[in-house]
């Protein structure tokens, strides 16, 4: 990495670490932003690097959240860091199991199928497992006593930081090369020796793990989990807007996007109250039409090539060359 990048990382880290001293009034906002950072980075592993666009990632957010809520409510293991990891791990396991059949889908079908996936988990947690989850009434997760916001803040800061490093690591590894090749052209990827299904399942599971971790944190921080809040299309939509607004297929993009989406939501709530989602919709459309590379794309002058539909691009290429 370039020195400039490292220096800016260090400065950002110092500022966030010292935030409770510098700007104590903003800590609870930054907690949400950091949770968004984790979620969107997780979504981006699959949507940005593998090119598999999912509208159903809230399923993993919900699974992570419910894992924590159920663990806490059943009295099993009240060691928070372990519960957080378990939230991610359960989401990952579900991702791996669901992944094999689900990832037979590609492109449009995968995107639409992911909505069904979300619907399934919503029903499972709301109705089918209602005797454990208390259905629509949800589960409480008691706050720590004596209450302080700082443990929450530093937990999510550590998680967010670890996620950034983890994703950076993936992108620079052989795994990241395989992901990019599969995203660019699955058939060509196969032809150069990449067995694509295991990689896609792995990407899906890692993505689920990270989003599940964010969900697990959410359960603690929100003190309450219910099916419509956890398995929410809004959560899926937020991840999408954060990633595309910031810059899909980059590490900085979701971070920038998380800040932007949080700010937009807060502003939107003031102006439009419950209609605040309108702001996100406008952000998404603006980005698609005017800056497909997102904020990071505008700053670096590059449009990340993330086309979930290689079939379509191939046809376009054919026209170019003949």
């Amino acid at each position: 990495m370039k020195t400039r990048v490292i220096v800016s990382y260090v400065i950002a880290l110092l500022l966030t670490a010292l935030l409770p001293i510098l700007l104590p009034g903003y800590v609870s906002y930054v907690i949400v932003v950091l949770m968004y950072v984790v979620m969107s980075l997780g979504w981006n592993v699959m949507g940005g690097y593998l090119g598999d666009i999912s509208f159903g990632h809230a399923a993993f957010f919900g699974i992570g959240a419910y894992t924590v809520a159920l663990l806490v409510n059943s009295g099993v293991s009240y060691f928070a860091p372990l519960n957080l990891l378990l939230g991610g791990a359960v989401a990952m396991a579900v991702g791996a199991v669901v992944g094999y059949p689900f990832l037979r889908l590609h492109g449009f079908y995968l995107a639409i199928g992911s909505l069904a996936l979300l619907g399934i988990f919503y029903s499972v947690f709301k109705d089918i497992l209602a005797s454990f989850t208390r259905g629509a009434s949800g589960l409480m997760v008691p706050a720590i006593k004596p209450y302080s916001v700082l443990p929450y803040y530093y937990s999510i800061l550590v998680i967010a930081l670890a996620t950034v490093l983890f994703v950076e690591f993936i992108v620079r590894s052989r795994l990241g090369m395989a992901f990019a090749a599969i995203r660019d052209d699955p058939e060509a990827a196969r032809a150069v020796g990449i067995n694509i299904t295991p990689y896609r399942v792995l990407g899906f599971s890692l993505s689920a793990f990270i989003v599940g971790l964010a969900g697990a944190f959410f359960a603690y921080y929100n003190n309450y989990v219910d099916p419509s809040g956890a398995f929410s299309l809004v959560v899926s939509f937020e991840m999408l807007v954060m990633v595309y607004f910031g810059g899909v297929g980059t590490v900085a993009g979701p971070v920038v996007g998380s800040i932007a989406v949080f700010a937009a939501e807060e502003a939107g709530r003031i102006v439009l109250q419950r209609g605040y989602l309108l702001v996100l919709a406008i952000m998404l459309l603006t980005v698609f039409v005017f800056m497909p590379g997102g904020v990071v794309g505008v700053l670096t002058g590059k449009t990340p090539i993330v086309n979930p539909f290689p079939e379509r691009r191939r046809k376009e290429m054919k026209h170019d060359s003949t």
Binding site: R174, D185, E187, A191, G193, I196, I305, T322
Partner: protein, 243 residues
Amino acid sequence: MILLEGRRLTKRFGGLVALDNMDFDLSEGEILGLVGPNGSGKTTLFNVITGVYPPNSGWIRYRGEDITGLSADRVCKRGIARTFQIVRPFYSMNVLQNLAVAGTFGVPGRRKMKEIEEDSLDILKFVGLRDKGDSPVSSLTLAGRRRLELARALATVPKVLLLDEVAAGLNVEETEAFIDQIRKVRERGLSIIVVEHVMKLVMTISDRIMVLDHGKKIADGPPERVANEPQVIEAYLGVQEVA
């Protein structure tokens, strides 16, 4: 010595018989030209050999081992590489990275990244893209992209190379240059099957030519002889213009 052989290969798509009981073989160090009108089964044969889809019946052996129905990634790792008729580079990567992916995943076992990079640079030099390593794929001309296809296939260190219409859309000089290039590839000890519409290319470089029509083999032999067979002229040369 026969390196790659297929027997009684049949591939159906619904009612269409794309390959009909086809036999073929490829000797070590040979360049085999595969010609035939559109829809005669050339690309289907490539896809069946490289594991894009399995044949409905028949078998393929490579160095005496059965490889029928192996998945594409495994076929590649065994040492059979291909190029695509319509170029299919990895667009988000630069030229060198395209080769690095192939060198990383297309070769059995784990190699050091440094070694992969050096090999990739050698191959780029070999195909005449020496200075293009850091360039994005989109900066290459069509001829350049075809060279990249070839280079990426070579980066998987194959013994057999399947070239699907490498000269389509190239001008006369570019085609001549590609003919030289293919010869140089053979000098490295590779055996090659060339699918081509550009007759000049096939006739000049092939040791042997196999003519397909409606999924069947209608001729097989040295170029001069095959070109004069009435059945071939009728099916192919008589109908299509010779470029």
